[in-house]
Structures are given as structure tokens and as C-alpha cells.
């Protein structure tokens, strides 16, 4: 098979398992970001047309926004836990 797709697939499997196994919430987010990179690359390599590139960029921007929101909420959640304890 194509080595490019194989390396991206193995990296995505490694990152998927690492998301599943890490304990702390804030350390999961870099793995989620790496996962979004792998998924956007796989989408383009599967669909070679410019429409596939458009799908990949829309998916990447929207998942970066959601991981941004998650990181912001972790900060707020920590503030709530600190003040209320």
C-alpha cells in the first residue's frame, strides 16, 4: 500500500489509543489536535479532488474551534472547582 497513508494511519491509531488512556483532561487536548491533523490528511488522501480539500479544511477549522472551546471550558471548570472548594 502507499507508505504515506500507512504512516498517517499508524500515527492516528497511536494517538487514538493515547487519548483513551491519558488521565488528565488538559493533556488530552494535544492528542485531539494531532488526531484532527491526521483525519484532515486522510480525508484529502482518500478524495483527491479540490472538493475533498475543501471538506478537509472545513473539518479542520471546525474541530479546532471545538477543541478551543473545550480548552476554554477546562479553564472555567478549574476556576469553579477552585473557588467553590
Amino acid at each position: 500500500m502507499d507508505i504515506v497513508i500507512l504512516t498517517i494511519g499508524t500515527i492516528m491509531v497511536i494517538v487514538g489509543l493515547r487519548i483513551f488512556l491519558t488521565r488528565s483532561r488538559a493533556l488530552k487536548l494535544p492528542y485531539v489536535c494531532c488526531l484532527n491533523f491526521c483525519m484532515a490528511a486522510l480525508i484529502v488522501l482518500y478524495i483527491k479532488s479540490p472538493m475533498g480539500a475543501l471538506t478537509a479544511v472545513v473539518y479542520f477549522i471546525s474541530s479546532t474551534i471545538s477543541s478551543n472551546a473545550i480548552a476554554h471550558t477546562i479553564g472555567e471548570m478549574k476556576k469553579i472547582e477552585k473557588t467553590m472548594k
Binding site: L6, G9, M51, V58, I65, A69, T73, I74, M84
Partner: protein
């Protein structure tokens, strides 16, 4: 050439099990985003690009709604647990 369906199926399974097993709100929502990534990969592997674009635009909206709900819910539970003992209920 068809690594995308395999990978997205694996990430759907992992995401689904992760949402169930993790107990904290934010962990659950991170696993939900992981599951959603698998779903969008699978939709793209069926060559439905417009459905995939709409689904990937709506995904952060759902995630943000859930995050705001979890935040407000945690805030409410904290304030209720702190004050519920002193303030009698009728004095709300």
C-alpha cells in the same frame, strides 16, 4: 487506498466506549468529539461530501452547547451543595 473507513470505524468504536466509561463531564465531551471525528470520516468515505461539510460545521455547535450546559450544571451543583444546608428551601 481505503484506510479511511478502517480508521474511522476504529475511532467510532473507541469514541463510543470512551463516552460510556469516562465519568468526568469534560472527558465525556472530548470522547464525544473523538466519536464525531470518526463519524465524519465514515461519511466522507461514503463520498457524501456535502453531508460531511454540514456535519462538520454543526459538530462544534453541538459541542459548545454541551460544554456550556456542563459548565452551568457544575456551577449550579456547586452553589447548591454549599448553600443548600443553611438556606431553607422556602426562602428561595
Amino acid at each position: 487506498m481505503d484506510v479511511l473507513p478502517l480508521i474511522s470505524i476504529l475511532s467510532c468504536i473507541l469514541g463510543g466506549i470512551g463516552v460510556i466509561l469516562h465519568t468526568d463531564y469534560i472527558n465525556k465531551i472530548i470522547m464525544f468529539a473523538f466519536l464525531e471525528a470518526g463519524l465524519i470520516g465514515l461519511i466522507t468515505s461514503f463520498y457524501y461530501l456535502d453531508v460531511s461539510i454540514i456535519s462538520s460545521i454543526l459538530e462544534p455547535i453541538g459541542t459548545v452547547i454541551l460544554l456550556l450546559g456542563a459548565l452551568k450544571y457544575a456551577h449550579l451543583k456547586r452553589t447548591k451543595k454549599k448553600y443548600s444546608s443553611e438556606v431553607p428551601i422556602l426562602a428561595r
